[in-house]
Symmetry: C2
């Protein structure tokens, strides 16, 4: 930084930083039910970031090489999204008008100031709120930048060179997902990532000392982070700017800046837990205004001095954009092919995957986790948009393509002999399922479609990751989760690993596709759905054990959610088969016919959400429930199948540790026992006709 | 430790420790599909623990003051439950016969050697498998011991003085839940807890260095742990014993023992990732046997030398039991009243709570989170069996009783002025929802009913905690979760905090009660159900906002899951109301009648699982679905309601950040709009009769 800039910062620091965040006391006061005293304490950090350090363009909010800012402590009730909203307004984001700013926590349906930052709005990179997620998102954003830089930058042409800034509170550093991500960021030596700790030492319950007395700086150092302390985080803008600038120059570590702040700065409850749950009082606001030289009777005023202070930022931002576009223009001349690929990535264009999906598969029985590899690995190999990772289950999830290179700091190679660098696209996340999925959200959020992350683990462990999977669905990010070892067929690991009830969560989760394919052909359909869903995450849920290749399965059918696998004009019953147990339905239909002369039709039903989107006529023609009862066979809790079936062979207890086939037998899920159960149901509804209109567990 | 014992250990260490774990290579080999080479590398640790250090009684496995051992790395596929099973067999647990040991991963339905340790079996303190949970369980077990000791011990009478030992692998130290629990254990200065790190530096994917290069010892020190290194963990039994004995004497910190081991010790793939996913080969087993002086052609043999080595342990254990029972006998004479309370706690007797539940409530509108406080706080105050905690939401969850004392290390008082000691029963968990619930499982598992843990947080954050809630259900532990801020009525925090789909998970989760009470009276019913469920966890799901007190709500009705709130002989429709929206159903019924002359009956439906357990006749009489359609009103994903209703006013998208009443209005959940929607449905099923037999979202 030039001495001139430093001098200017000194002058700015002479003004209390809070002066540059006018109106926020009013906003907090006006909304009596909540309370964002944290925002006041963080004002100096905001000035340092938005005025001096961050590279962004308010009038061009999605400019590709912008710095990314994540407010991990974005929750309104505990923390301080108003902090970000106020700076978006002051720095000139067009949609964030003063009128919008005043709508904070109002009843406006079109408010841009919801109770936490939301990705839909200008200047917001990721939706935050559930604590700790933002750290992991920021790690993903920084990895995306490292990766794209390693892929596309050439000497003299750093076309991807942005920095990621993440603001956290005490809570983010207590949450497991944050701790997982911190450990991994240190491992990856992400020197383009800075975490700024708003260390006000106050949580809802009181002093942080009540629950956390660890030495956070030493902990971060042990995790491979560079640590900087700022003692006066409320006023020392110059010190903060210096620390942030140094962080940008960090040679090989992410930086953790521990900034001491005071919650509720300037109010009577400053520095206490009361400030955590309180709004400023009238007298507090008036006193603060007097101290800063404002008229205490003028409300919601941003003075000309403040407007001037931030006035040049849109123009500066346009300069950044012009410079970068100029660079990319020269890059196109120097490296035309590379630039073409770069443009394709920036546009989110995935063209090419359709042709790479196999048209047919080997006829031998194949675990659908292996079928997933047959489908996805050629695509991951062929299209560099995909970054595939696993939570330490590479040998189990079958997602390695020939010649894959790991995403790693290039020096790691020497220490454990792996083939990796930042250009690599296979990510070893460690046994950190939750961070894996939250980091993937960051990878996907960097720029729509520039990176499509694929995660993988056992299905049961997606319960560990569920809060992050949910955030991906909420943010409408295309992240594909390959969840193997579904159903009880996964066997010996037993009840802790048999996901009896987990499908119920994911089938209910908005904007997520949960798909259980029944063989290789259906697995092709599941991945086709996932790859086509540009604004949805998908869970492709596959088996550990080999599944037979069934006649007449159809990838096109999968895209409709459910379809008739075996029609039967004489049918008295529909059997619904799902995923790893689709073959069971086929087997039961055959057995019913051959042994008991009962005719059944079979419907394959891999995805409820895709089926729900079909026209009513298609749904009725597929299920034919007005003509005959439908029985679903799935060794999961049946919750939700009541919409599509009249009865279920299901599992309502936890599972049992047994080899897969024995586990099926234990739960009466072998074809013989299932056949008996279905016959029993047919007798049952004959003897009690009311049952025909109720849902029956058989 | 006496010099004599040390000498004996020296002699034992002369034998390779692996010799004392005979047959395990065979077991691993016999079960080709899995692979527990980790167990071999940990054998010396096992000898140190079971032969020398741990206080336990094989023939009296639930003796109250026993040391607790938790195999956090208990997963069969990655780690090593066979380790624990082998030692349970060798040390003389009666049910763990050699025949049972050989059944590991077999098809026996009654096997005691499932793919992970299960709490149902002798010598197993908690069910483990999902990684990281065991650390948190161990923290809970250690807290239970600290708490009971502080409550009941008197000078000369340490009636509760056991130690907790927890074995972890690389993965447990990467998982967020483990990291949260580690931080809290350091804060609480649990010197009765020792974590033994089986540091073999190998995971599924390869070297741990691929994903984790942090300095674990420094990290643990920063978290307030005492750290000890053992360089030769495969053979240095004396060194391990010394470290474990020192850990028992730790003055004020938990101890972390970093033990370097070699995975697949003695095999050709020792120390490599191949060993992680492999079984020993025939030649490996033969070579190992030769090296240890065994006959390579004799299979599944435990020699007399080994039997002798462990022979005295049952008798030693009975000595521990006799000594302790003698101590308790003298304690009963010295402190008769205290001893009586102690006996009551040990028996799990909760007698007394029924009388403390209020018979009636104030008539004013009350948030059900506050109603929960009215119900539970007098019980928590009156019965010391309850330990109530929160993940940093004390002001929001209303679970503080007058005069509550915090569970804290007594010295903490000086540093932040809190009223706490180990005898306290209010636990500040910090913002660590997942660890809160996993630690609570440990508190509950210490001895059935001795401690009944209550957790509290916003309902949405129970998604963070879901893997631990699940483990509590799987272990049949009585843990009560008070989940506040349910439904969209919680308001401004918006979609990240509005739990649209979360109820679907918990309604499907086996052995868990998810209950949404509709007013104070129903809240009394919800807690009555939770307190009565001695082998089930419960989620009491309550509102942030005030709910009116409704006429004819019934706590007894809640215990049946659903009940008729308003019967109506002229009804053409049943309205099902749930929890915070029960009043909406009542309002719609009234509006339908007054404005549209449509008669409806109202059913209150707080808990699906309790209702499912009712006789068929009761269920039919309550819902009367064969006579008229039923419409459920709940602003959640409807999945699962299809079993009880024909239509739903529901929410299938994520929520929206608005004040509570505005959020209801935004989603058409105000009484006027709901009435219109219900009328629309009645018209719809008239015009399309097929719809009457389908589930309709209105």
């Amino acid at each position: 930084m030039s001495p001139g800039v430093l001098k200017e910062i000194g002058a700015a620091a002479g003004l209390p930083a809070q002066k540059n965040m006018p109106g926020s006391q009013e906003l907090v006061k006006a909304e009596k039910k909540t309370h964002d005293m944290g925002a006041i304490g963080m004002a100096a950090i905001g000035v340092a970031l938005w005025k001096y350090v961050m590279r962004y363009a308010p009038h061009n909010p999605t400019y590709f090489n912008r710095d990314r800012f994540v407010l991990s402590n974005g929750k309104s009730q505990r923390h301080t999204c108003i902090f970000q909203y106020a700076f978006l307004h002051l720095t000139g984001y067009k949609k964030m008008t003063f009128d919008q700013l005043k709508s904070y926590h109002s009843e406006r349906y079109d408010a841009l100031c919801p109770g936490h930052p939301e990705i839909e709005h200008e200047g917001i990179e990721v939706t935050t709120g559930p604590l700790g997620q933002g750290i992991a998102n920021a790690v993903g954003l920084a990895m995306a930048s490292k990766h794209l830089g390693a892929t596309f930058n050439r000497p003299g042409f750093d076309v991807v060179s942005n920095h990621t800034w993440c603001m956290v509170g005490d809570a983010c550093l207590q949450e497991g997902v944050g701790l997982e991500a911190i450990s991994l960021a240190g491992h990856f030596k992400l020197n383009n990532l800075t975490v700024i700790y708003d260390n006000n030492q106050i949580t809802c319950d009181g002093s942080v000392d009540m629950t956390n007395t660890e030495n956070i700086n030493e902990k971060m150092k042990a995790c491979g982070w560079h640590v900087v302390d700022i003692e006066d985080g409320c006023y020392d803008i110059a010190g903060i700017v210096e620390a942030l600038e140094q962080a940008k120059q960090s040679a090989e570590k992410p930086t953790f800046i521990n900034v001491r702040t005071v919650i509720g700065l300037g109010s009577k409850v400053a520095g206490t837990a009361v400030a955590h749950g309180a709004a400023f009082g009238d007298d507090d606001v008036a006193a603060q205004k007097r101290a800063y030289g404002f008229d205490p009777d003028a409300h919601f005023v941003v003075g000309p001095e403040t407007r001037d202070f931030f006035a040049g930022l849109p123009a500066r931002g346009e300069g950044f954009v012009r410079d970068w576009e100029g660079l990319v223009g020269r890059y196109e001349e120097a490296h035309p092919d590379l630039a073409k690929r770069f443009r394709k990535r920036m546009s989110g264009d995935l063209t090419g995957w359709e042709e790479l999906i196999p048209k047919s598969f080997p006829e031998k029985p194949t675990a659908s986790r292996a079928s997933s590899g047959l489908v996805m690995n050629p695509i991951a190999k062929g299209l560099d948009s995909f970054m595939v990772g696993t939570a330490d289950l590479s040998p189990s999830v079958n997602m390695i393509w020939p010649g894959k290179v790991d995403f790693q700091h290039p020096e790691l190679r020497t220490s454990c002999g792996i083939n990796g660098n930042y250009g690599g696209r296979y990510i070893h996340y460690g046994v950190r399922e939750h961070a894996m999925c939250a980091i993937s959200n960051g990878l996907a959020a960097f720029s729509p479609g520039a990176i499509v992350p694929v995660t993988s683990s056992f299905f049961m462990f997606y319960l560990y990751a569920a809060p992050a999977v949910r955030m991906g669905a909420l943010m409408r990010l295309q992240v594909i989760h390959h969840a193997t070892h579904d159903s009880i067929g996964m066997g010996e690991d037993g009840p802790t690993h048999q996901p009896i009830e987990l499908a119920a969560l994911y089938r209910a989760m908005p904007n997520l596709l949960y798909i259980r394919p029944g063989d290789s052909e259906e697995t092709a359909g599941a991945w086709t759905a996932a790859l086509s869903a540009r604004e949805q995450p998908t869970i492709v849920s596959t088996s550990r054990h080999a599944l037979p290749q069934l006649a007449s399965t159809s990838r096109a059918g999968v895209l409709r959610g459910a379809y008739v696998l075996q029609e039967n004009a004489a049918a008295v019953l529909t059997l619904i088969g799902v995923g790893a147990e689709l073959a069971h339905a086929v087997g039961v239909a055959q057995k019913l016919k051959e042994t008991h002369r009962v005719e059944a039709r079979v419907v394959s039903f891999p995805c409820q959400r895709l089926f729900d989107a079909q026209p009513l006529e298609y749904k009725r023609a597929t299920l034919r429930r007005h003509e005959m009862p439908a029985v679903v066979l799935e060794p999961y809790a049946p919750n939700g199948w009541e919409r599509y079936a009249d009865a279920a062979a299901c599992v309502k207890t936890f599972g049992h540790s047994l080899p897969g086939t024995a586990a099926y037998r234990y739960f009466g899920f072998d074809v013989d026992t299932l056949t008996t159960r279905v016959l029993g149901y047919l007798q049952q509804i004959e003897s009690d006709t009311l049952l025909r209109r109720e849902f029956v567990e058989i």
